[in-house]
């Protein structure tokens, strides 16, 4: 068995990896260079697939032995069967999607549980920036308004509502700052929102 030093994994990913049960079947949407899947495969005995569109990230996945499928998440997950996965990860990727609702429905079709993270637009420095009349630029939203790939700006409260509408029940919701959970006033003090979601029983995604 190969072990990596846990410190090598980004703090937020490490926190999220703790939510993934050992031996799970995992789908990682927007898996990047495969770091998370590789960690889950080698440290937690998970078995997984990643989806990534960026040409430059595919070779790193391949070298790591991560099963990566190059496609646009927006094109749908037709390649995966219903309930094929224990956990679907969609980490810091949802805010770049056009059809967020469709993707969430697809996630709930192929997986029993989902872990979704996105930059919390209601993080206090973002609110301050807006009060000063400027769009926020921060570590989690590092772009200017004119070059950002982030199409969707959501707060923790916004996402709770959409999750419910697409048939996902919120199991846990944590706001992270610098990879550590924020307990007091999370929708103000957390820069990254992380949700653990479960398909509502008896719910057939439209």
């Amino acid at each position: 068995m190969n072990y990596r030093e846990p410190s090598e994994l980004r703090a937020d990913l490490l926190f999220i990896a703790d939510w993934v049960a050992p031996g799970s079947k995992v789908l990682d949407l927007g898996c990047g260079d495969g770091e998370m899947l590789h960690y889950l495969q080698s440290n937690k005995g998970c078995d997984g697939y990643g989806v990534e569109i960026d040409d430059h990230k595919i070779p790193a996945c391949v070298t790591r032995g991560v099963s990566v499928i190059q496609q646009d998440v927006e094109a749908g997950l037709a390649i995966f069967a219903d309930n094929a996965f224990d956990t679907v990860l969609c980490l810091s990727a949802l805010q770049m999607m056009k059809n967020v609702e469709g993707i969430l429905r697809d996630i709930s079709r192929v997986g029993r549980e989902a872990i979704v993270s996105f930059p919390n637009f209601a993080y206090w420095p973002h609110r301050v920036a807006l009060l000063r009349g400027r769009m926020p630029v921060s570590k989690t939203l590092p772009y200017e308004w004119y070059d950002t790939p982030n199409l969707r700006c959501a707060t923790i409260e916004d996402f709770k509502q959409l999750a419910n509408e697409v048939g996902l029940e919120v199991l846990e919701c944590v706001a992270l700052d610098e990879g550590r959970p924020v307990n007091f006033m999370p929708n103000w003090r957390g820069s990254l929102a992380v949700f653990r979601l479960r398909k509502k029983s008896g719910c057939i995604p439209a």
Partner: protein, 399 residues
């Protein structure tokens, strides 16, 4: 950059008849092949490269004609060689010419021992699976029990796929590029146009043209022209030729007006000089017949149930002959069986031919995959670049 330099083919005779899918037997036959690199002591670093329609065992390196000085570079020399994505400093690579071909292995132009005359029309039709069984005998003879990888593009990819199903225990990795699990109706239609042009050539003589000392060149030429169109993308053709006129104006005749006509006719002429018409018929039929899901009511995932190999599947966005959708069928059936697969869809402009061309994204993915294969067979040499953690893990994992 280092190269393989001058290479030369080897040949091996097989006296045991090869039973074919059609029920016929290929009585005795010779396979021509080339090898590059060294087989390691435990025989774990062998890679078989399967060829497509218009190719052979001459995968990489150069043939030098002693008389004319002419150099013939292998068809996948950009992919296979020292330091190349399939690195012959690490792997022992075999290229083998399939029976029925016209590049040296037993084919329809060779003498049929039973009649003392060239096989011609009597040469049996072969399937992709028949070729794989023939290749397996060569692997046995070369001492290769399990291939680190079997690899091919287009029709070669079908052979790699067939290997993973027919000999699951003998294939650790399968690399399938610009390929498909079956030909579509449109693919078969193009093949039949090509075949009809050969079959109706007055010089074809029912396949026994060798005895008449003629060649159905016109038929072969048109067949190649049709085939060649399907290898290129509309955009690529538009960019290369557009509506460019050969002599600046319309000629009001049936000679060459447009550059594309000139190009295709030249390609057809060249091809008809060296290719064999019976071989063209045999190979296009093998393409048409390939359908591993056929025995499983069309369910490809059932056909893949016994596969143990890991896969790399690559397609090219502008390939309309074997489009990305066809490669995704392969990927989907692999995923359904929870087989390991990496799939790259390369946005290259060159259509089906892209699999033979240099594209950094394509080459990098294949290189990365073979680095992984090398690691899996216990080799070393994963580059350190940004994956410092991975490297540390490899060293740790060996302790």
């Amino acid at each position: 950059m280092k190269t393989l330099g001058i290479v030369s083919p080897l040949s091996m005779h097989f006296a045991t008849p090869l039973p074919l899918q059609s029920g016929a037997l290929l009585n005795d036959y010779t396979l021509v092949y080339e090898t590059y690199g060294q087989l390691n002591p435990d025989g774990s670093n062998a890679v078989l490269v399967c060829h497509a329609l218009n190719a052979s065992h001459h995968v990489a390196g150069v043939y030098l004609d002693a008389d004319t000085g002419a150099r013939t570079v292998g068809w996948w020399d950009n992919m296979v060689g020292p330091g190349k994505p399939l690195d012959t400093d690490k792997f022992f690579v075999i290229g083998v010419n399939n029976p029925g071909s016209c590049f040296g292995s037993t084919g329809p132009m060779h003498t049929n021992a039973a009649s003392g005359k060239p096989y011609g029309a009597d040469f049996p039709l072969l399937t992709v699976e028949d070729w794989v069984h023939a290749q397996a005998r060569l692997a046995d003879a070369l001492g290769v029990r399990c291939f680190a990888a079997v690899m091919g593009g287009s029709l070669g990819g079908m052979q790699a796929l067939a290997w993973s199903m027919l000999y699951p225990e003998r294939v650790a990795n399968c690399v399938v590029i610009a390929s498909t699990p079956t030909l579509s109706a449109q693919n078969i239609a193009f093949n039949d146009v090509a075949r009809q042009s050969i079959l109706t050539d007055p010089n074809f003589h029912g396949g026994d043209y060798y005895a008449h000392k003629v060649v159905p060149k016109n038929g072969l030429r048109v067949a190649r022209m049709v085939g060649h169109i399907t290898y290129l993308s509309d955009d690529d053709m538009a960019a290369k030729f557009g509506r460019d006129l050969r002599d600046g104006g319309y000629q009001f005749g049936y000679g060459v007006d447009f550059e594309i006509e000139s190009y295709l006719r030249y390609q057809g002429d060249k091809f008809s000089e060296y290719f064999d018409a019976n071989t063209y018929l045999i190979i296009t039929k093998a393409l048409d017949y390939f359908d591993p899901a056929r025995a499983f009511e069309g369910d490809l995932s059932k056909a893949f149930a016994n596969i143990t190999a890991k896969f790399l599947v690559v397609s090219f966005t502008t390939d309309w002959r074997f489009s990305p959708a066809r490669s995704r069928e392969i990927v989907q059936a692999l995923v359904k069986n929870r087989h390991q697969v990496a799939y790259a869809e390369i946005d290259a402009p060159h259509g089906h031919d892209a699999f033979l061309q240099d594209d950094a994204r394509y080459m990098n993915v294949v290189r990365a995959y073979y680095e992984r294969v090398w690691h899996d067979i216990g080799g070393r040499g994963l580059h350190d670049s940004e994956t410092g953690g991975l490297r540390a893990e490899l060293v740790g994992g060996r302790a």
